[in-house]
C-alpha cells in the first residue's frame, strides 16, 4: 500500500536522511564546543568534526578541504561568489556573464551589482534551456572578470556544458562560478576536470539539513580571492565570519558522503523512476509537452506542461502528491515561470506545467500512484476547461482576442 502524501518535490528540498540526523545529534548535546575554541577539548572535538566534514565535501567535488567555505546555504554562497569576486577584482574589470535561467540567488545579486556600476550580460538560452560555449565566447570582453553558469537547472533539470565553459574561461583567464546545488550529489561534479573556480552547494538538496551550504573557492591555478560579505571573527579564512554551525556542518558532510557512495545506484534508480513517470503520464494524455532537455537533464527531474489545464488547479486535484508548478497564480505578478518563458514556452503552457522531482526515498508504488492520479485529474479538469472544449471544436486559441489585464 502506498503511503500518502507522496513527496515528489525533491528539486525544492529533500527529506533529511535519518543517517544524517543521527550523525548530527551528538554535536548538539555532547560535542557542543565552539570550533574556534583552541584551548579545550570541547573546541577540539568540534573543530575535528568540522574538518572531517570539509574533507567529505571536498571529496565529493574533487577539491581540497581548505577550499571549502561554510555558508548558510546556496543563496549566501551565490551572493558571496558574485559580490565577493566583483568587489575583489573590480580593478581588473567590471563585466559579468550569466544566463537567463539562473536562480534568483544569481540574478538578484547581479542586479545589485549593476546598480553599483558593474555590467552584466544575461545570456538567452535555447529551447531546452541551454547556453552554448559560443555564446559565452562572444559575450566575453576585455573587462570580463566572471562567468556564472549553473550546472543544472532547478525547474527543468537541464544540464549546462560546464566542462567546455570551464575550459573557455580558463583559456581566457576569467573566473568561472557554477551554482551546482541541483547537480552536486546527483551527478558527478569535478571542479578540476570541469575547470570550476567557485562552486555553490547546499545540504538540503542532498538529504541534509536546511541552513547550511558551502562555497568552493579555488586555492591554486588560480588562487581565487574574495571580499567577504560578513565580517567578524575572521572565520573561514576571513571570507565568512561567524561561529561555525557545527551540527549542521556535520550533517552537510554526512549528506555529501552518503550521496557520493550512493550516486551510481541512486542516479540510476531516480532516472528509471522519472522515465516511468514521464512515459506513464505522457503516453496516456494527449497535448502534453516535456519542458527542458530530453536527455541532458538531472536524473530525477521531469517537467511537463498539460495543455488546457492550469497548473495550480491541477496541483489541488493531486493534493496527495507534492509537486510544484510553473504557474504563478499565487504570486502578485501573475507571471508564470521565467525559466520556462526563457525557453520560449508560451505563457499558457507555462501556467500548465508541473515539476516532478524524484528522490532517494521514492518508490515505484509512489510513481504508479502518481501516474494514475495525474492522468485522472488532467482528464477531469480538461472536461471542465473552456480551452479544451474550444480546441476540440477546432478553434485556434491564438485567434481569439483574450481580455488582457
Amino acid at each position: 500500500m502506498v503511503k500518502l502524501p507522496i513527496y515528489l518535490d525533491n528539486n525544492s528540498t529533500t527529506r533529511c536522511d535519518p543517517k544524517v540526523v543521527e550523525a548530527m545529534l551528538p554535536y548538539f548535546t555532547e560535542y557542543y564546543g565552539n570550533a574556534a575554541s583552541r584551548s579545550h577539548e570541547f573546541g577540539w572535538k568540534a573543530e575535528e568534526a568540522v574538518e572531517a566534514s570539509r574533507q567529505k565535501i571536498a571529496k565529493l567535488i574533487n577539491a581540497t578541504p581548505s577550499e571549502i567555505i561554510f555558508t548558510s546555504g546556496a543563496t549566501e554562497s551565490n551572493n558571496l561568489a558574485l559580490r565577493g569576486v566583483a568587489h575583489m577584482y573590480k580593478a581588473k574589470g567590471n563585466h559579468i556573464i550569466t544566463s537567463e535561467v539562473e536562480h534568483k540567488a544569481i540574478l538578484d545579486p547581479c542586479k545589485r551589482l549593476e546598480k553599483e556600476g558593474f555590467e552584466v550580460t544575461v545570456l538567452p538560452v535555447d529551447q531546452y534551456g541551454r547556453v552554448s560555449v559560443e555564446q559565452i565566447q562572444d559575450a566575453i570582453r576585455d573587462k570580463t572578470i566572471l562567468v556564472s553558469i549553473m550546472a543544472a537547472n532547478n525547474e527543468i533539470g537541464t544540464l549546462q556544458p560546464i566542462t567546455q565553459i570551464g575550459q573557455l574561461c580558463k583559456s581566457k583567464g576569467i573566473l568561472f562560478h557554477s551554482d551546482a546545488v541541483q547537480a552536486v550529489g546527483k551527478i558527478p561534479v569535478d571542479v578540476q576536470a570541469m575547470g570550476i573556480d567557485l562552486l555553490s552547494l547546499t545540504a538540503h538538496k542532498i538529504y541534509g539539513p536546511k541552513g547550511i551550504g558551502a562555497l568552493y573557492v579555488r586555492k591554486k591555478n588560480p588562487r581565487v580571492r574574495l571580499e567577504s560579505l560578513i565580517d567578524g571573527g575572521g572565520h573561514e579564512r576571513g571570507m565568512r565570519s561567524g561561529t561555525l554551525a557545527v551540527p549542521l556542518i556535520v550533517g552537510l558532510g554526512e549528506a555529501c558522503d552518503i550521496s557520493r557512495q550512493l550516486m551510481p545506484e541512486e542516479s540510476q534508480k531516480t532516472f528509471t523512476l522519472r522515465e516511468r513517470l514521464r512515459t506513464g503520464i505522457m503516453n496516456q494524455l494527449s497535448d502534453t509537452f516535456l519542458n527542458g532537455h530530453p536527455e541532458e537533464r538531472l536524473p530525477g527531474n521531469t517537467n511537463i506542461s498539460f495543455a488546457y489545464v492550469e497548473g495550480e488547479g491541477l496541483m489541488m486535484g493531486i493534493k496527495d502528491v507534492a509537486v510544484s508548478s510553473g504557474s504563478a497564480c499565487t504570486s502578485a505578478s501573475l507571471e508564470p515561470s521565467y525559466v520556462l518563458r526563457a525557453l520560449g514556452v508560451g505563457p499558457e503552457l507555462a501556467h500548465s506545467s508541473l515539476r516532478f522531482g524524484v528522490g532517494r526515498f521514492n518508490t515505484q508504488e509512489d510513481i504508479d500512484y502518481t501516474i494514475d492520479l495525474v492522468v485522472r485529474e488532467v482528464n477531469r479538469l480538461r472536461e471542465m476547461s473552456p480551452l479544451y472544449e474550444m480546441a476540440k471544436a477546432g478553434i485556434d486559441l491564438k485567434s481569439i482576442e483574450w481580455s488582457a489585464h
Binding site: 488546457y308 489545464v309 492550469e310 497548473g311 495550480e312 488547479g313 489541488m316 486535484g317 504557474s327 504563478a328 497564480c329 499565487t330 504570486s331 502578485a332 501573475l334 508564470p336 508560451g346 505563457p347 499558457e348 501556467h351 472536461e383 471542465m384 476547461s385 473552456p386 480551452l387 479544451y388 472544449e389 474550444m390 471544436a393 478553434i395 485556434d396 486559441l397 485567434s399 481569439i400 482576442e401 483574450w402 481580455s403 488582457a404 489585464h405
Partner: protein
C-alpha cells in the same frame, strides 16, 4: 494551504459544469480572462424570455481551484434569479462565501465579470434581435455570440 473547505468542496464537486447552446437566443455567454494570465471562465445562462428568470447556468473554467470554485458558486447563485437580481451579485459576496485569501480575490472579480458578460451577451442578442450580431471577430467562437470582456 490557504484553501477553505468550501473552495475544496466546489473544486471536488463542481456544480453545473458544461455548456449550453450558445447560438440559442435565450442563452447568454460570457467568456472572460486569458490563457496567458492563467484564468479563463466561460459562464452561460439560460433565461426564460417571458419571466426574465435565469433557469439554468453552466460554466467551464481554466484556472486554479479558487477560480473553479468561484465560477461553480456563481452558477449556483444565478439559477432562479432574475437578470436584475443577477446583476447585483458582487465579487465580495463570493470572496466571503468561499473565504478566498487575498491573492485569490481576482478569481471572484473574474466570476463577477463572467456573470456580467453573460447577461450583456443575452441582452445584446435579444435587444438587437434580427439586427447586427455581436461584433464579429476572426474566430468562429466569438462571432457566434461570446462576449469577451476586458478585465482588470
Amino acid at each position: 494551504m490557504p484553501y477553505s473547505d468550501k473552495i475544496l468542496e466546489h473544486y471536488n464537486n463542481p456544480r453545473n459544469v458544461g455548456s449550453l447552446d450558445q447560438n440559442a437566443s435565450e442563452v447568454g455567454t460570457g467568456l472572460v480572462g486569458a490563457p496567458e494570465c492563467g484564468d479563463v471562465m466561460k459562464l452561460q445562462i439560460l433565461v426564460n424570455p417571458e419571466t426574465g428568470v435565469i433557469e439554468d447556468a453552466r460554466f467551464k473554467t481554466f484556472g486554479c481551484g479558487s477560480a473553479i470554485a468561484s465560477s461553480s458558486l456563481a452558477t449556483e447563485w444565478l439559477k432562479g434569479k432574475t437578470i436584475d437580481e443577477a446583476m447585483d451579485i458582487k465579487n465580495t459576496q463570493i470572496v466571503e462565501e468561499l473565504a478566498l485569501p487575498p491573492v485569490k480575490v481576482h478569481c471572484s472579480v473574474l466570476a463577477e465579470d463572467a456573470i456580467k458578460a453573460a447577461i450583456k451577451n443575452y441582452q445584446d442578442k435579444n435587444v438587437e434581435k434580427g439586427s447586427s450580431q455581436v461584433a464579429s471577430n476572426n474566430s468562429n467562437y466569438q462571432s457566434t455570440s461570446a462576449e469577451v470582456l476586458v478585465v482588470h
